[in-house]
Symmetry: D3
């Protein structure tokens, strides 16, 4: 299995509902350094997993939709705790949709699975991984 | 699959038996930066894999048992080479036991598998991964 | 010159006033990984720059005052842009005060200068450095 | 499953053929920081996955063959785009051959699979993973 | 003293003249992860050292001039060994010129000094630091 | 001012005397990732600060003298707490002596100062910096 991983980041505010979150129930924020790993069993004719330029552009576009925002006020997240795990899945779904729409080029349709990891500090991270086809 | 990873560290002395270890047969030491990754297929009602506060506390408690110690004198490790690989398994077993004892909260019972990685320097690491249930 | 550096982090929300900040004028947030470097020309009788345990405790106490907060609502910061640079100076002042109050032990009075660095992402950071005595 | 990972690096020049590569069609270069992860289900009698000294020596020998070279002029790569993905597979094949030749010691024959990751910058990497036996 | 640091990277080919370089006399390449640190004694009215957006844009523009190039063929570098140290100075001079031309905004004229660091691998880096005015 | 930095590591055991050290009074250990920064105002005729190959070899030789050792039993350290700060100075002195002995080549005599940093974990480090001539 081959993989390619690209990295970018976003800086958001949010709060959580639930006693388990302790002080994080207050409005606070986070920098998320985001890694997206693309996986496929064979390379394409150019010798790549995915067009790394397009992959980076798509990631930047997806993050820009929520970057510098208070996620408590983003309609699509209403009623949800925007935990690191939840946001990893959100980015995953966005990349899957972009692949389906051809945004990463025709070769990206051979990408079998993705792993999206959000690093929230030097001591904590979360991720979501899954197959592209099942999620499309 | 969702994951959450927490990080802490310990600083220990030890020596190894066996020609394969070369100069590491002498009493020496290591800082181990320890990552514990918790994995489960779906999030709980709060939108998390595990209570990250409790996960960090449990890891700190487990490491404290052997932190600032000469592992050659720890009875539980008698007759064993406390290699990075071996210690990764040791931490894994401690986390599995803590989940079983409810130390990470009732939600942690849905954690399917763990991966424990010990970084011994900027150029070497070792890990152990396995299912929680099989190991409990 | 000898130095010792300790690291911790905080997760806050804030917004900025001024066109130069572009989208960061909106309420957003950041994880700041904070390094505090203590400097002195000679070691004490124990062979250290500062009690690293106390140094870490003091940093944690200082960060806890604003951790998991919306800095726009912290009275001490009213009318200020809580930029990464500004917050570096804020932590610097807190450490200087703690040294003056003896919180880091009597040996810490020999610390000549400090450098406080806040990493806001994998591609940006800011710092403030200065002499302890002049700032006390 | 147990793993051990070792790290080294190489510095090469190359160019790519294909419009997808944009400016990387020009002769340019890269530092690749290379991680090789060895995996096996049980430790050997010494308590290790692989002799980490031999593993590091083998990796250094393999990288030395192409280190400080223009890969466009390496006969073995003629007609190929030496992408990060392609080079990850190249290193993988070299480690598999070395295990087969006994270069990593007799215990290494129990290594089931490998993952080779090449970091090309602070924001991009690629990897190849596979079973040792199928590839031997 | 306050600082702000921004990071970007470039991927180039080059060769060196001189026995001291050993195998690096051959055409090879490098990824340089570039940090530019801006320093000034007081913050501006917005509470910043420099407009971090403009600083990043200027760094990207400067690196683009030589990114994905064989530096042996860049006229401005003729007869020079484009060592990591030399390139750190080259980027320094470019940032100084950009400040002088107002590219980083009028506030940047208060920047007193810069430090440019190029990381060439996980085990080696080089830098150049100097005053802005003396170099302008 | 130009700098070049090289990195290596060592793994040692030791214990400390003094209540300030708490549990670190017990025999324990550490991995020290060691950075040595060489500084000089102008480059030599080859365009470098120091022969980076020789610099790395010298650092490796110095660390090998105490690597995989219990520092409590090293005669040269008798009666001393081998703190991270102390060891930074020890490596500094070794590099100064090596420069004086010509081990880094004749060009290294123009190196004005050094900074040696030992990273003992992901959250703590110490350093010693000073002029080469004063220390020679």
């Amino acid at each position: 299995m081959y993989t390619v991983t690209v990295r970018d980041h976003m800086m958001i505010a949010h709060s959580f509902k639930g006693e388990v979150f302790g002080p994080a129930q207050r409005l606070h924020g986070a920098t998320f350094v985001v890694d997206v790993e693309f996986r496929r069993p064979e390379l394409d004719a150019d010798g790549i997993v995915v067009d790394i330029g397009r992959a980076g552009d798509t990631l930047k576009r997806l993050l820009a939709e929520i970057n510098y925002r208070n996620l408590d006020e983003v309609p699509a997240f209403a009623g949800k705790n925007t935990t690191t795990e939840f946001l990893a899945r959100h980015v995953f779904s966005g990349i899957v949709a972009a692949i389906g729409a051809g945004e990463l080029g025709p070769g990206a349709s051979a990408v079998e699975s993705l792993k999206v990891t959000l690093h929230e500090s030097h001591v904590a991270s979360a991720s979501y991984e899954g197959r592209v086809r099942a999620a499309a």
